[in-house]
């Protein structure tokens, strides 16, 4: 191998004269705000449902106090000293999916680790192991989080269906569409665009093959996923915002006991 004599650049050293720091700063602020809000919302353990609406941070509600709970209230085996919130039981799946997502990895390596701060800008650290060894080699579990994420999208879609059935005041249910229903439906649409455009899914549905011409269903699936994948960053950010907005809407509805605008049939 050629003996290479190269000069090590200092942190932030660059000849770039453009505002290269804006994009990592926006990513840092955006992701930080989401993480802080999500953590706060997950620890609340209340105001996560209102009527037929269930916050996506708490869906599916495996154990909990609302009418949406699958198996009733807090389980007896939960340690008495530990705080409980239904969100603790499920948030690891979507969080793991986003944490190991190829788009987010590239974005937060830049914004949080400055590795690199931006393209052609000097880095703060000398050592580098990338994703070739522990701990970042664990990013390879992304496809397993994808499997969970696909199930979650289906469950959230079912929650949209349930969000169309409102109490009629006589102990029964009446079909309708409320503002909350629309917000939850848009959220599922954006989450579907993000999840179905996943790089791992693109590989699993057909990318692993060298010849797709003999597999028309795989070819169609591969082309559809590739189409969504080309805008993966946009889907990632829009779905991130929609999840937070859905929770905020339901939380405010519950705290103020709103009856939101709705059309009942």
């Amino acid at each position: 191998m050629t003996e290479l004599t190269l000069i090590k650049r200092k942190f932030g050293e660059t000849s770039r004269s453009d505002t290269w720091w804006i994009q990592p700063l926006v990513v840092f602020c955006g992701l930080s705000a989401f993480i802080v809000y999500t953590t706060w919302a997950a620890f609340q353990g209340e105001h996560y449902h209102h009527g037929p609406y269930l916050s996506p941070f708490y869906a599916p509600e495996i154990f909990g106090n609302s009418e949406h709970s699958w198996f009733g209230a807090k389980p007896a085996w939960w340690p008495s000293w530990a705080p409980f919130s239904p969100a603790f039981l499920i948030l690891w799946a979507p969080a793991g999916f986003r944490l190991t997502c190829y788009y987010y990895r590239g974005a937060y390596y830049k914004a949080f680790w400055a590795d690199p701060p931006s393209c052609a800008v000097g880095e703060p650290r000398k050592g580098y192991r990338g994703e070739s060894s522990f701990p970042l080699i664990l990013q390879n579990v992304h496809r397993f989080f994808l499997y969970f994420a696909l199930v979650f999208v289906l469950l959230l879609a079912f929650d949209v269906w349930k969000a169309m059935w409102f109490d009629d005041g006589n102990g029964g249910k009446t079909f309708g569409i409320g503002l909350g229903t629309l917000i939850l439906a848009i959220n599922v649409f954006l989450l579907s665009g993000y999840t179905l455009g996943c790089h791992s899914l693109r590989h699993l549905v057909g990318g692993f093959l060298d010849r797709l011409s003999g597999a028309p269903i795989r070819r169609t699936a591969y082309n559809c996923v590739s189409c969504l994948n080309s805008q993966h960053m946009r889907w990632a950010w829009m779905s991130l915002c929609s999840v937070a907005c859905s929770d905020i809407y339901i939380r405010l509805s519950s705290m103020m006991d709103w009856t939101d605008p709705r059309i009942l049939f």
């Binding site: 650049r9 004269s17 060894s133 797709l212 080309s230």
Partner: protein, 248 residues
């Protein structure tokens, strides 16, 4: 005629730095034109590698205002000329002189990648049958002009100098063009993981951003290769599937 200021990197491995120049610029000029003008009028010994002036030979790679670019494809109209334009050699390779770097490391690396190994011919005349849609995917990778701007901007080479452990985006594109070829039978996944260091790539997409041929390097070459490596080495379900899959 307007003039513009340039800061051009001059020198060799012993001593080098920016030297200021000022030269006339006119409509339609590219950075390489300005460099040639400076070379002709003010610095006859200025070393610059170039060939086609059409963005197809990949020779005139450099860093213009800190961005890895082909000098022949960077119009002065697109640069802010109220400030000096900086022109530097690529930073991921050893400097030879002025704007010329030694990129021979890339050719040595390329030789080590397992060559194209097609399946036996489909017909007696030694030819194969392929579908265009199967070739389309690797066709994108064949647009590469080996300008090595992607190698230059990759922080694993540029900042961490891991040339012995990591082959860089250009060679992942080359590997993808072979590995995804519908006729190829060679297995390069072990090399990708061990000697080619694909795990070092942390998907910053800088390579994709600088590619003058607009090859979607990260999404279409590197990540699909990473996923194939996951299939082979990190996915226990796939391993189980391989164990129980009937032999062909």
């Amino acid at each position: 005629m307007a003039t513009a200021k340039f800061k051009v990197w001059r020198g060799d491995t012993d001593s080098s730095g920016f030297v200021d120049y000022e030269t006339d610029v006119s409509e339609g000029m590219v950075v390489l034109d300005a460099v040639h003008q400076i070379q002709a009028e003010q610095a006859n010994d200025l070393a610059v590698r170039w060939n086609c002036k059409a963005g197809k030979c990949g020779s005139c790679s450099a860093e213009v205002n800190g961005h890895p670019k082909l000098m022949c494809m960077t119009r002065l109209d697109d640069l802010p000329l109220d400030k000096p334009v900086t022109i530097e050699p690529m930073r991921a390779f050893p400097l030879v002189k002025d704007l010329v770097t030694d990129v021979s490391w890339n050719y040595q690396v390329k030789k080590k990648i397992k060559k194209f190994s097609p399946r036996p011919p489909d017909f007696e005349d030694g030819t194969w049958e392929m579908q265009q849609e199967d070739i389309d995917r690797v066709q994108e990778f064949r647009k590469c002009i080996e300008c090595f701007l992607c190698q230059d901007v990759c922080h694993v080479l540029r900042d961490h100098h891991l040339h012995d452990n990591f082959v860089g985006p250009r060679h992942y594109v080359y590997t993808a063009s072979l590995e995804m070829h519908p006729l190829d039978t060679e297995d390069r996944l072990g090399d990708l993981k061990e000697t080619d260091g694909i795990g070092y790539c942390n998907i910053t997409k800088c390579c994709t951003k600088v590619c003058p041929e607009h090859i979607t390097i990260t999404d279409n070459a590197i990540i699909p290769l990473k996923e194939r490596v996951v299939d082979q080495f990190y996915d226990p379900l796939k391993k189980l599937f391989r164990i129980f899959k009937p032999k062909e």
